[in-house]
C-alpha cells in the first residue's frame, strides 16, 4: 500500500510521455502533458500523507493533533496554477501554429520563419488590391 502512490505517479508519467510521443494532434498532445503534470500532484500528496491524521486545519482541533504535511499541499496548489497557465499558453501556440502551417499534426509542422509573415503581408496586400478594384 505504501508504494501505491509512487506506482500510480510513475504510471501516469509514463503513459503521458507515451501519449506525447505518439500523438498526431497538438490539442491531444497538450492533454497528455496535463496527465504528466497530474503525476506530480499524486507524487507530492502521496509523499505528504500520513495514515490516520487530519487535514492541516486546526480550527476545531487542538494544536499538536497529527496532521498531513501542509508544505506538500502548498506545492501542489502552486503546481495546479502553473499547469493551467501552461495549458493556456500551449493551446494559444497550437492555434497560431494551425493558422500559420495549416495543420495540427506535429509531423507536418514546418519551422516558423519570417517568410510566413511576408506571405501574410502579400495576402493582406492582395486584399487591399481587391478592395481598390471594387471601389
Amino acid at each position: 500500500m505504501t508504494m501505491l502512490p509512487y506506482a500510480v505517479a510513475a504510471w501516469l508519467f509514463g503513459i503521458g510521455l507515451y501519449g506525447i510521443a505518439t500523438s498526431r494532434n497538438f490539442i491531444h498532445l497538450v492533454g497528455c502533458l496535463g496527465i504528466c503534470q497530474s503525476a506530480t500532484y499524486v507524487l507530492l500528496l502521496g509523499l505528504g500523507y500520513r495514515w490516520g491524521s487530519i487535514a492541516p486545519i486546526f480550527y476545531d482541533h487542538p494544536p499538536g493533533t497529527p496532521a498531513v504535511d501542509p508544505v506538500m499541499q502548498a506545492l501542489v496548489l502552486t503546481d495546479i496554477v502553473v499547469g493551467a497557465t501552461l495549458t493556456a499558453l500551449l493551446l494559444v501556440l497550437t492555434i497560431q501554429a494551425y493558422k500559420r502551417g495549416g495543420s495540427l499534426d506535429p509531423e507536418k509542422l514546418r519551422p516558423m520563419r519570417a517568410g510566413g509573415g511576408s506571405r501574410r503581408n502579400q495576402a493582406s496586400s492582395r486584399a487591399d488590391d481587391g478592395a481598390g478594384k471594387t471601389s
Partner: protein, 83 residues
C-alpha cells in the same frame, strides 16, 4: 476507509490512461473533465481540501473550457495559406 484510498488511486490511473488513449480531441475534453473530477475526489480523500477545491475549479471546469475554446478556434478559423 482503508479500501477507499487505493480504489481512488487506481481510478486516477485508469482515468489518466483514458485521457491518453482517447485520440479524438473532442471526446478527450470529456475525459479531461472526468480526470479532474477524480483527482479532486482523491485530493479530498488525501486530507487536502484546499487543493481539492482548486483542482475542482481548474481541472474540472477551466481547463476543459480552454480546450473547447481552442477546438472552436481551430474549427472556425481556416489557416491563412494552404501548404
Amino acid at each position: 476507509m482503508t479500501v477507499i484510498l487505493p480504489l481512488l488511486f487506481l481510478l486516477t490511473a485508469i482515468s489518466g490512461t483514458a485521457v491518453v488513449l482517447v485520440r479524438d480531441p473532442v471526446r478527450q475534453v470529456f475525459a479531461i473533465a472526468v480526470n479532474g473530477l477524480v483527482l479532486a475526489i482523491l485530493f479530498d480523500a488525501l486530507q487536502a481540501p484546499d487543493v481539492a477545491l482548486s483542482e475542482l475549479t481548474v481541472g474540472a471546469a477551466a481547463v476543459p473550457l480552454l480546450f473547447l475554446v481552442a477546438l472552436m478556434a481551430v474549427r472556425t478559423q481556416p489557416p491563412e495559406e494552404k501548404p
